[in-house]
């Protein structure tokens, strides 16, 4: 099994505030890695550092055996990123946007058209001729997913990718991600929906206050914590248990 993503001692300081303290993990080929954590834990900051958007204060990121700092362009040509809030060029049409992304990644035209056709059918996209500024959140999310999935990147990063998608599209996305992983890609996804993580992820990392506090397969996490559901494991590890939650509800 090849390690497609290697993250070592990643740290990010914003002035006096340390958003990410020291994070290390690996993702193998064919693996879906779930990255969970409460709000403000450092998930998005970590993802932005791994995808080359944010320069880390210290630490190392290697993707497909390439050092991100030394070879940012080569690394970026191997990855696809789906942010939680798709911000796109509002004055471009969906078709122009896909053409732009395809050109930037030097895709083969025939392959690109075939993939766009397939993905548009899958996600029921029939709005590519319209300007992106007229899209809803879900439509933008589908467009970004198409722009990433059409390239079949080696590593896919998704930040809350199912938010804004209708049930059918969310289901298709989950199945597609599994298929891509089975074909050799590595998937890194953050989510607050623990059921998704429970069903989809091969391994899970839980981050809290800038540190990974638990990592492993669901079975490993269950045996370590003595809890059965991922929700209980998560709440237990992040400092809340069922009694605390009940007390909060009763006090309301």
């Amino acid at each position: 099994m090849t390690e497609l993503v290697r993250v070592s001692n990643l740290r990010k300081d914003f002035g006096k505030i340390t958003a990410v303290k020291s994070i290390s993990f690996k993702i193998n080929t064919g693996e879906i890695y779930g990255f969970l954590g409460p709000n403000g834990a450092g998930k998005t900051t970590t993802m932005r550092m791994i995808t080359g958007v944010l320069v880390p204060t210290s630490g190392k990121v290697e993707i497909c055996d390439l050092d991100l700092e030394a070879h940012p362009i080569k690394v970026k040509s191997q990855i696809g990123v789906v942010p939680d809030e798709p911000k796109l060029y509002e004055n471009m049409t969906g078709q122009e946007f896909l053409e732009f992304v395809g050109s930037i990644f030097s895709m083969e035209k025939v392959e690109m058209m075939h993939m766009i056709s397939e993905l548009c059918d899958a996600f029921e996209i029939n709005f590519l001729e319209k300007f992106i500024g007229d899209y809803s959140h879900g439509m933008k999310q589908k467009l970004v997913l198409t722009s990433v999935l059409m390239r079949k990147p080696k590593v896919i990063f998704l930040d809350e990718a199912t938010v804004g998608l209708d049930a059918k599209s969310a289901k298709i996305l989950k199945m597609l991600l599994r298929k891509y992983a089975d074909e050799g890609s590595a998937i890194f996804m953050t989510t607050h929906v623990l059921e998704i993580a429970e069903k989809m992820c091969d391994r899970i990392g839980i981050i809290n206050a800038g540190n990974i506090i638990a990592e492993g397969t669901l079975t490993e996490l269950r045996s370590e914590s003595g809890k059965q559901s991922l929700e209980d494991i998560f709440l237990n590890l992040t400092g809340s248990n069922e009694e605390d939650v009940k007390e909060i509800i009763e006090n309301l």
């Binding site: 942010p83 796109l88 395809g102 050109s103």
Partner: protein
Amino acid sequence: MNQLSLLLKYKLKMWSNIPKRRGRRGMPLFAYVLILAGVFAAIGIPTYFLFVETFKTYSTIVFGGVSLADLFVEISMIGILVLVLVTDTPAVALNVFMSDDVDFLLSLPISQSTIFASKAIETMIQGGFPALFVIPVLAAYANTVNMPWYEIIFMFVMYIFYFLILTAISSLIALGVSKFASRSGTQRFMILTSLIVYVFVIILMSMVGSLNSNAGNVEMVFSNYVNTVNAPYLPSTWFLDALKMQWSGILLVIGTSIALSAIAYLVASNGILTGFSKMTSAGKRTLHRKKYRIRRPVIAFISKDVKLMRREPSILFLLIYPAIFPLILVVSTLGKGGNVMNRDIMIPVISVFLSSMYTVIATASLVSIEIKVGDFVNTLPIGKRTPLWSKAFVITSAFATVMIVTFSILSAIFGNTLFPIVTVLFSIPILLTLSFFGVYATIRWPSSIGGIRRPLNTTGTLVSMGMGFLGATFADLEGIYIGYNQVLSFLNPVLGFFVFFVAPVLAEIVMTIVTFKLLSKFDWTKPYDLGNRKDD
């Protein structure tokens, strides 16, 4: 009323919080008021004296009972009408009725009429400032016709009613536009309407230009427009009648403003606001089988920036100015037997000045679009400088093309091609430098609103204008030396060569080096972090 004041209070709070959110100290409200008052005084006082002088100089000109002062009041009123209806309406539709907070406000237990009223007041605050500039014209009119103080007060009350008419019509059109047009459709509507404003400006400029001529000429120019300007169906004519204490005018201004405001209020109160959709529904046609073009990455980036530039109204406006102003100059000097040499020099000089100053702002706008998109660009496998080089290249090429096309047309008509062509050629390197300075300015002095239409704060805008002015001066001096050196015959040849050629070229080189030094100092990843950092 309480709810309305609450909505407005929090809107003001939101506006004043924007600089704080950007990590900068906000300016107190009274400072903004003082600055606006200063700007108003700086423009308004000279305007007042200019019009007093003009009205007195041409007091003998009367067109069938309508004096030149009357006509100017009507033209000013039509000007405000055009400004509010044509430019503010789509802006209202786009920024107010389609704004993100409308959905939230509609979910609150607040009546739609209150929401509508708060949005209408927001619009008046945002778009009403130009309406103040009619006040010097009205004051000059009052002075010329020796109005007693109570009539002056009455005149300004009438002006408020007049402005209400415009706001009500504008709001009604905005409601309609928002109902039927998409966001991008509204933007295109804005481009179209702005062109109408330019036509209006050209007509106005040619009229104002005639004020320097003799009384006969002024009378001839304005007599062509008097019937149109004084048409009985125009609110501006009612306004003038009201100033002359004619009951028909007073009743029409007050009655129409109350009626239209009531209609706008009723329309907004009867659920039309909730029927709004921010876009038309997606078509059934599937277009993913259309042909796609794959380009080289750098070409793809340039092509994308060209598309964004073409489709951003605020950048298009800036591109139109260097072409439209020579046209205005030509129109205003035609048939007046003016100094041809002056015209031949002035047209390229002004155009280069406008191009230089707007190059910085246009680049800043294009960079702002990229900033708005956020992290996306940083996830692409391209060099970090590619997006910025692309923008500088696109904007420089656009302004150079506008100038070349404009001067080619004018040269074909009037001859004398050398000076304009040389000036344009000399301006291209400086436009490129200024474009890079625009990139720097966007990062160094972003506006607190952070918008594409106003990408730079006041300091940034002033510095950019200053740099543009300097750059244009260098290019124009070089152009004059090479293309029109007969005007330098009074100078010693060596001195002329040094002052008009060597010094500007050296200054350009220094400006370029300084700009690139400044650019090398900042983190190229930073532009895309502005306002987009989310660290959970």
